[in-house]
Structure formats: C-alpha cells, structure tokens
C-alpha cells in the first residue's frame, strides 16, 4: 500500500516514462482505438481493463511496434518516438510478456533469455551466456538448468523465463498481457512478488488482466477501455470493482453472488480410486445429478488429467468408473462420448475448436453421424438448424452460423464449444477453465449457463484456476495436489483459505527430486 501512495506523490514531480497522446487506429471497418491518451510513470503498475475487443491489445501492439498508429503520438522519456518493430521497441526499453509465453522450444533456456539481445556480438559465448542466465534467474529466486531446451518447461517456468528475458533487456516499460491467465493462485502470488520487485527498481508496468481481484491487488492505477475508447483512469483508492465493471460493460454485473444449489440425490458418476500411472492416483468422488463439482488446485496438480481420463483421451490405468451405477471402461474419447461424458477443453484454439471452419460444422462435429441422410451425405440444413437453436439458447453473437469460428470473440467461441458438447446430450459435463481469456460480460453469461445446465440435471465438473469462480459456482470443491486428491469440501467449508491450504499441502522438507540445487 505504502509504495503505491509514495509513487502517487512522485508522479507529480517526475515526467512520465511513456506517454501516449491521442492515438487512433482503424482496421478496415472497425475503429480499434479512438483518441487514446495515457501516461505511465516509473515504478508504477498501471492496469488496463476492458472486454475483449475494447482496444487493449491494439494499444499494446502499437506500443510494442507491431502496429503503427493512424494518428497520435508516442513519447518515451519525453521524446516523441516512432516504433516500427518489436526489435525497435526493445531497443527503446519496451518489452512485452504475453498470455502464452513465447519461447523457442528447441533453444535452451539461456538462449531464450538472450534471444532479443542485439548487443551480444556476432559470436555466441556460450559459457558466459549460461553464467549470466544463471545469475538473472538467481536474482529472481529461481533455479533452472539453463542448458536444457525450453521444450517441456511448465507454463509457470516458461512465464519466469519470459520475465528473466524482459529483465535482461533492462526494460523501462514492461507490458504484461494477461500473464496470469494460465497460472494458479499460488503461481500468481509468485509472479506478483517479481512484479513488485521490478516496480521497486523503477520499471513502469502496464498490466492487462481479466481478473478483477488481481488488478485491485497489484495496480496503482486502473484504466478502463470500452469500444476503442478510454472510459476512465482512476487510482486504486478511487476505484472499486463495481465501478470498473460498470465502465467496462456499460452496466452493473455481479460476479460474486453464489449460485443456488440444485443438486439431486441420485449419483450420475462415481469414481473410485482412479489413477493414471505417473500422472495422478487415488481420485474418488461421487457426482450427483444437477451438482457442480469444482476442481481446485495448482497448475500441474493433475486436475486436467483426471478430466482427460474420464473422457478417454488419456485413459486411466487403475481404479473404477461407475456411470449411473454401472461400471464402465473408457479407453478413447469415443467411449467417453457414447457414455454421455463431455469434456470442454481448456485450450480453445488448439484443442477445442477447428478455427477455420464454420460455427455449425464445429457444433455438429462430435455427432456428425446424426446429420447423415440415408445416402450417407451430411445434411447441412439440419446442421444449421441445430446451430441456430444453440445460437438463440446461449446467445452466441454472430450474424450467421456459417461464420468461421476464428472470427468470433473469446466468449462467443467458448459458447460454441459449450454448444458443441451440449449437442451430444451429456449426463456429465467436464468444463476445463471455462472462462479463461473470456471478458467479464461473457464470464457472467457462462456462469449463468452452467447454473442452467445443472438445473437441467447435468452433473457438471468445473476445473478452474480462478478460485473465486470455483467458489461461486461449486456445490462442493475437490482439491488436488501433485496428482493426489487432498480433500472434498462442502460449500459451507470451502473458502479461499481452506482451499489454498489443501492445495498447497504440507511444505515438503526434502528438495525436489533429491538433487542438490
């Protein structure tokens, strides 16, 4: 708190590091940014809020030189600059970290850290580079083998390498575009420690996130965008989540109200001692009709693996699955589907949707068989009718169901994915990170849909790293840690503290994999 106040004082005296004056940008018919002015001071964390398409990304891309503004000015350290490329932005001390880390899987960690350095000479001094990389990571309180290729690093470790990369460049302005979207609560705290360190060193940070509580935890100033325009800039002390959300969507939305339970007596899915060798083990729970069971835990705790095992993508190697009281074997995704299990992937773009194809083709894909005529041809008319039904039911905003899914916003893509699986008439619906990268308005809609589905009697499993979301949605919360089930908490027992305690488990005394670090 105190540092935020101190900087507010400093800001009066010191000129901003980065100043944006009246920037506008147009893509074909859409005005992506309109007359945006914003200033960023040293040692300040400035959060950008806004729904998808509000103009945050365009602004970031203009600052990092990916796009050129149609009009307006960018000033760095008081000097007007033209940033023509990402490389030029880096030379000027502007670096960006994105939601999905941009590492080179075939290059080693050290090389990834120094990849953007143009001042290291024509010859790579490997020893020196390894030493310096070790040093930078040590300063961040991390130990990684910098000689190993980046392939196979966990997302959290990749994010750390990204930060090391930014630090190695001596950045003055660091842009973080949804850096926490794929991180668990604990990892977010680790990241925030680093961010506060950078702030103390005088780096100006532009922080984009959809998670309101994170923004209010870390930001000094909060700016809200809507429809390409800057709506408001407030200090954290002046701002409230309610006001920010109202600015973002133009109306009031409450994401904190718990869903009323509609769980029924009969068990739809019963899992006993389920395991997959080397991945997770000992998972047992009952899922009732109409119940929402939350899966909480850190990234890498094995929650997604349980979902994949139930659906059959990566089948379980031990334990039993009972569906409606009958034991079943799930070896492939087709098995899962025919048993009425649906798994909505966390990775919309890679695993969830076929982006270049139409909305209707995506929705009917798992059950294409149902749409065949007697001659074995696909009845696209019928497909369109199905898709139109879902468009109305889930309020998918699109001019036509013939549109490519790639052209939809994240929230609407999420709804297409939900439609696709609801169309299989599942009795068990597994939702993996259902609101990742989805804006506030759509998030509320997705929550409402989940409630509605439960009310219809579907057993829903929600895997989410967004702890408030899990708490708001779930009737019970199952917590996993390192591939093991730690606890199942009732709604009455579950709160941030109890869930995190279970997710962190006991602090282990021996070092990881027994190697001296």
């Amino acid at each position: 708190m105190s540092e935020g106040l101190g900087l507010a004082d400093g800001a009066v005296v010191v000129a901003p590091i980065l100043e944006i004056r009246g920037v506008a940008k147009r893509f074909d018919a859409t005005q992506a940014l309109e007359d945006v002015s914003l200033s960023l001071h040293a040692g300040e964390i400035h959060a950008l809020l806004g729904e998808n398409g509000a103009g945050k990304s365009t602004l970031i891309k203009i600052i990092t030189g990916v796009h050129q503004p149609d009009s307006g000015q960018i000033l760095l350290g008081g000097q007007p600059v033209t940033i023509r490329s990402a490389a030029e932005a880096q030379r000027l001390g502007v670096a960006a970290i994105y939601q999905e880390p941009l590492l080179f899987p075939d290059l080693n960690v050290a090389e990834n850290i120094f990849i953007s350095h143009q001042d290291r000479g024509a010859v790579v001094g490997w020893r020196e580079m390894f030493r310096e990389a070790d040093k930078i990571l040590a300063e961040l309180g991390m130990t990684l083998d910098v000689r190993k290729p980046a392939r196979g690093l966990t997302l959290a470790a990749q994010q750390s390498v990204e930060i090391a990369k930014a630090i190695s460049l001596n950045v003055r302005v660091l842009i973080m575009d949804e850096p926490t979207a794929s991180l668990s609560a604990h990892e977010v705290q680790e990241l925030f420690k680093l961010v506060r360190d950078l702030k103390r060193q005088g780096v100006a940070i532009l922080f984009v996130s959809h998670r309101m509580e994170e923004v209010f935890e870390i930001a000094d100033k909060i700016t809200v965008f809507r429809d390409g325009r800057l709506i408001s800039t407030r200090t954290r002390l002046e701002a409230t989540p309610q006001r920010a959300i109202a600015d973002m969507v133009g109306r009031e939305i409450d994401l904190t109200k718990a869903r009323t339970s509609c769980a029924q007596k009969d068990v739809v899915l019963s899992v006993a001692d389920l395991g997959r060798q080397g991945v997770f083990e000992g998972v047992s729970f009952d899922l009732h009709r109409g119940e929402v069971l939350g899966f909480a835990g850190l990234i890498g705790a094995g929650r997604t693996d349980v979902g994949l095992a139930l659906f059959g993508i990566e089948p379980a190697t031990s334990g039993r699955i009972l569906l409606g009281g009958k034991p079943v074997t799930v070896r492939t995704a087709r098995d899962g589907m025919s048993l009425g299990i649906a798994y909505v992937s966390e990775d919309r773009r890679q695993l969830g949707l076929v982006l270049p194809m139409s909305i209707f083709a995506n929705i009917t894909l798992p059950v294409l068989r149902r749409y065949l005529s007697r001659l074995g041809l696909v009845r696209t008319g019928l497909e369109r009718r199905t898709a139109d039904t879902f468009r109305d039911r889930l309020a998918i905003r699109t001019p036509s169901v013939d549109l490519e899914v790639a052209k939809l916003s994240g929230g609407n893509q999420q709804k297409v994915m939900l439609s696709k699986w609801l169309n299989t008439n599942p009795s068990v619906l597994i939702l993996d990170e259902p609101t990742r990268g989805v804006d506030v308005g759509s998030k509320a809609e997705v929550h409402a849909i989940i409630g509605q589905l439960a009310a219809e009697g579907i057993g829903v499993i929600v895997i989410s790293s967004d702890l408030p979301e899990v708490l708001v949605l779930s009737d019970r919360v199952l917590i996993m840690r390192e591939g093991r089930q730690m606890a199942i908490l009732d709604r009455a027992e579950a709160n941030e503290e109890t869930v995190m305690t279970a997710a962190m488990g006991q602090r282990s005394t021996d070092s990881i994999d027994g190697r001296p670090s």
């Binding site: 074909d28 969830g352 076929v354 982006l355 083709a361 894909l365 074995g376 696909v378």
Partner: protein, 321 residues
C-alpha cells in the same frame, strides 16, 4: 478476406485463365475445339489426372503422399510380373491392386499408427516401392498383354471416351461427393485444419488418415494399370517423377499445402488449365520442356499474384484513411 472468399476468387481466377487459354488456342487452331482433340488432350496424361484427385484429398487432410508414382510403377510391375509368370490377366490385375493396397497400408501404418511425418514416410515409400518394382522387372520391359487389355488403354470404349477418361470422370464425381458431401469428407477438412481438436472431439484421426493413404495408393495402383494398358508394356522406371506433376496440379487447384483448404472443383479446373495450356503450346510447336516450366511458373504466380494483390490493396487502404 474469408477462406470462402479466397476459394471462390481462386476458382474464378482459374476459370478466367482457362477461358483465356481456350479462346487463344481456338483462334490459333480451328482443330482445337473438336471432341477428338479434347479426348487426345485428356488421354495424354490421364493417369496423373486420376491420381491428382486422391492427392487433393490427402493434402486437404494435412498430409502428403510422395509415393504415388512409385506405387503406380509397383502396381504395373506386379501385374506384368505375375502375368509373365503365367497367371491369367484378370488375376494379375487383382494382384496389382492388392500390391497398391499393401503399399497404402504400409504408409498408413507408419503415419496414422506410429505417428511419423508423412513427408518422411512417403519419401521412403517413393524410393522403396520403386525398388521393389525394379527387383521384379530388373531392366526388362514386359509387354505382350492380351488384346482386350491394350484396347482398354488405347481405344475409345464409351462414345469417344477411353476407359481411363471414363474412369476419371466417375472418380471425379465420386470423390467430389465424398469430399464435399459425406461425413468422411467433412472429417478430412477437420483433420487437415486441426487434428488435435478433431481427436478431442472423438474423431478417429488415425482412421481418417489411414483411409486417405490406402485410398491414395489404391487409386495410384489403378492409374498404374491404366498407364500400362495405354503404353502396352511395362518397365521398372514407369511413371517415375510423376509425383511432382500431380502435386503441382493439386496446388495449382488452390489446395493449401498446409491442409484444411481447397476443393475438387479447383483441382478439376487446374487440370484443365494444365492440359489446355500444354495442348495449345504443343499446337504452337512449343516443346514439352518449355511447357514444363511455363506450368512451374504458373504454379508460383497463382499464389504470388493474389498475395501481392492483397498486399497492395492493404497498403492502398492504409493510405486512404
């Protein structure tokens, strides 16, 4: 520009090109527009045209089959070898088709089951199947097939059409329906666009790919037999190097080398463009060699010009605002 828009404009471009070539050719030679010329024209490289149909499906499915020409050679050699060994011709033909299916199953196993890149597997197939063909025939040429067999390859059977041309049209319609109307066709596009997402939707990706490669090899074997019938004799190096011409035609037809995009109408138009261009140039006494590189240039330009055009219009629009 949407994918649909791109495709539409692609076909429009091919069609315009085709009309221009035909107009130019028929002005140059009154003989050009006759049925006889059309049949001759088609017959000249009908085997490649047939194989291009399945190649289009394979490439739309996100893979590539470099082994088709070798499978053509292999099938023809198996047929000739078994026939030479005293087996009746119909049985020899069945053996040839069987060899094609085996080759396809081999490709399919490594690609769909083991998960190796198709470029590497079918490159091995290109060399290996040709090798087997050479083992069978060494440096001999085997001919002397029954008359009815040679007739199939060389004479008009259905109206003015030869058997091979008739088969091409039947297969064209068949594969157009499969690709654009059937569930399998839909899955080919899905797998070609995003195989992972397909798997997560319960699509048996391996099965789709296996079907593509077995189908491709089977059709290649059929084309190899037709080629043998047309030539009247078979050698170990038969159809060598055809794979590049086939792939050229498919890519010229607007099929994306990265999979998921393209259609058979475009491929059909591209085949017609190539044939008419070759024929027109042939009538104008331009050598086959020059024809080769004109088509090579056309292949590059067909992608390059739309790219440049888009770039230019983007720049122009940028200046306007």
């Amino acid at each position: 520009m949407s994918a649909v828009g791109t495709l539409k404009s692609w076909e429009a471009m091919m069609l315009a090109l085709l009309v221009a070539i035909i107009a130019f050719n028929s002005v140059g030679s009154p003989y050009f527009l006759s049925v006889g010329n059309f049949v001759n024209l088609f017959q000249l490289s009908i085997e490649k045209s047939i194989v291009a149909l399945t190649m289009a499906l394979v490439i739309i499915g996100g893979e590539i089959d470099l082994s088709v020409a070798s499978v053509m050679g292999l099938a023809a050699c198996v047929m000739a070898w078994t026939f030479h060994a005293g087996v009746p011709m119909p049985a020899a033909i069945l053996a040839a088709l069987g060899a094609g299916i085996l080759a396809g199953l081999n490709n399919a196993f490594w690609i769909a089951r083991v998960g190796l890149p198709s470029l590497a597997v079918t490159l091995a197939g290109l060399i290996g199947y040709r090798g087997v063909a050479r083992i069978l025939l060494e440096d001999r040429a085997i001919g002397g097939f029954p008359d009815w067999f040679n007739t199939i390859g060389q004479q008009a059977l259905i109206g003015p059409l030869t058997a091979a041309i008739a088969i091409f049209f039947v297969l064209f319609i068949f594969f157009a329906i499969v690709l654009h109307g059937s569930a399998f066709g839909r899955l080919v596009y899905v797998v070609g666009s995003n195989a992972q997402a397909a798997r997560y939707s319960g699509v048996r990706v391996g099965l789709v790919k296996a079907a593509l490669f077995v189908g491709s090899a089977f059709v290649a074997a059929l084309a190899g037999i037709l080629y043998a019938a047309r030539l009247g004799s078979v050698r170990g190096d038969m159809a060598e190097g055809f794979e590049l011409d086939v792939i050229t035609a498919v890519l010229l037809g607007g099929v994306s080398i990265f999979g998921g995009k393209g259609n058979l109408v475009g491929v059909g138009l591209a085949l017609l463009v190539i044939l008419n261009l070759r024929n027109g140039m042939g009538l104008a006494d331009i050598t086959g060699n020059t024809q080769n590189y004109v088509i090579g240039g056309l292949l590059i330009l067909s992608v390059l010009i739309p790219n440049m055009w888009q770039e230019l219009t983007n720049k122009w629009r940028g200046r306007e605002t």
